[in-house]
Symmetry: C2
Subunit: 259 residues, 2 copies
């Protein structure tokens, strides 16, 4: 029943100006610097005048600001208000937060929650460990499902066909030399995960990192999110890490899943 975003559909109920405005905002996903009017125009494919009007509007609403040095446009502070709304109103996030805090207290390593969105996992909250390195501490950051422990835990909860679809549709680029990209290896990993009840990932995204992940299920027993505990291989052997933390992780995931 969710409306489709297909192109050549006869959807007369689609408000195009809104989509165009969101396109403008979304352009910043691709870049890491302020953009000029022209740049936005060419990147979005919208006309200069149009972009000017859209920017004017978004700017008066606070969703776009000028760069401090007035060298271009950047996303505005008001966007944070909306992400807060998402977090406040998302039942999984709300339910998980206190449990994650408790888990964090018990394990004293990095603990986080990410929400499943088709091919990716989006970090919704992250509780740092004592000595956090510079890994992007930002929420909203997303990683591919296929190569993180939480992703495997989620895939393990799906029908094989659905999991396969996700794996094959994923663009499986390696983050580190250890990143699993082979389809067979991944399927095997998922099988292991299904038996263990949680997933272990060694240096899949960051060198020297070990992470274990478990899936969060909704009432219909469908995975919707995942939680992780992550630590450093310089401090732990994989065996010790999982022996110590996996039971706590699984217990926490179960508690959150109980709705």
């Amino acid at each position: 029943m969710p409306p489709k975003d297909s192109e050549t559909e006869k959807d007369g109920l689609f408000v195009q100006s809104i989509a165009r405005a969101m396109d403008v905002l979304s352009i910043f996903h691709q870049v890491d610097r302020p953009l000029s009017l022209q740049e936005i125009s060419s990147l979005t494919g919208l006309g200069r005048s149009n972009v000017q009007r859209i920017l004017f509007t978004l700017r008066s609403l606070g969703y776009i600001t000028r760069d401090p040095d007035d060298r271009g446009y950047v996303p505005g502070l008001r966007l944070l208000d909306h992400s807060l709304d998402f977090l406040r109103l998302n039942p999984v996030v709300v339910k998980a937060t206190p449990i994650l805090l408790e888990l964090r207290r018990a394990v004293r390593e990095r603990v986080d929650l990410s929400i499943w969105d088709d091919l990716r996992l989006v970090y919704a909250s992250r509780l740092q460990s004592k000595r956090e390195i510079l890994t992007s501490t930002f929420i909203g950051y997303s990683v591919p499902v296929f190569c993180v422990s939480g992703g495997w835990a989620i895939l393990a909860q799906l029908e094989e066909a659905e999991a396969d679809s996700i794996l094959t549709r994923s663009y499986r680029a390696a983050f580190t030399p250890k990143t699993l990209t082979d389809l067979g290896a991944l399927k095997e990993k998922i099988r292991e995960t299904r038996e263990a009840g949680y997933a272990t990932a060694l240096e899949q995204v960051l060198p020297g990192e070990i992470a274990i992940g478990a899936a969060i299920l909704d009432q219909a027993r469908r995975p919707v999110a995942a939680i992780h505990v992550a630590g450093s291989l310089s401090e732990w052997t994989p065996e010790d890490f999982t022996r110590q933390f996996a039971p706590l992780l699984v217990q926490a995931a179960r508690t959150i899943s109980r709705v």
Copy 2:
């Protein structure tokens, strides 16, 4: 030169559909539960059909989702993508993040960064202490400038007239019995802050909490944000807390301000 959002202005470059869509999204700021079509319609003052079309559009773009139980509309995951863009592209946030991590390592108490937005401070990043209580750990959360240490630090950097304007325009409701709301007392506090170079807040927002704050300045020496170190009065006397942490806090703020 920032466009004004006045009502009866002759702004023919303002795209109203966008504003309406954002109104719909913003409606969730006021509530803490899923909303129905009708509710959104009456809360925004927009017609039912219109809201339906806007929701359809926002939904196909991922900015609105249906509640898991299909009981209403809620903000969608895609909003997080945009808040990430804001964080990634904001020079203050980028500059501050590593320094805050270091500061956090030194003080082992809660450390956070908030961005100044007229009457409020919006949390942009927050590094938890070892035993974090359930205080909203979410970014995007905002507090009034008039009653937090970082706010005082910012006000202390402004011309007296501007600071006064902010104080008087603020809706000065008390969060705790200790919250300062009296104009005279606040001005005095700001004077103290200006001399000390940082601000100390005792139980202004949360009972039992002590926080110290310092302002972040841009190239023009204008305040744009603030950083805090916050701890519990059950573990610290105000004197010990400030003696230990204020120098580090001020040093960090200075480092971030150097652009």
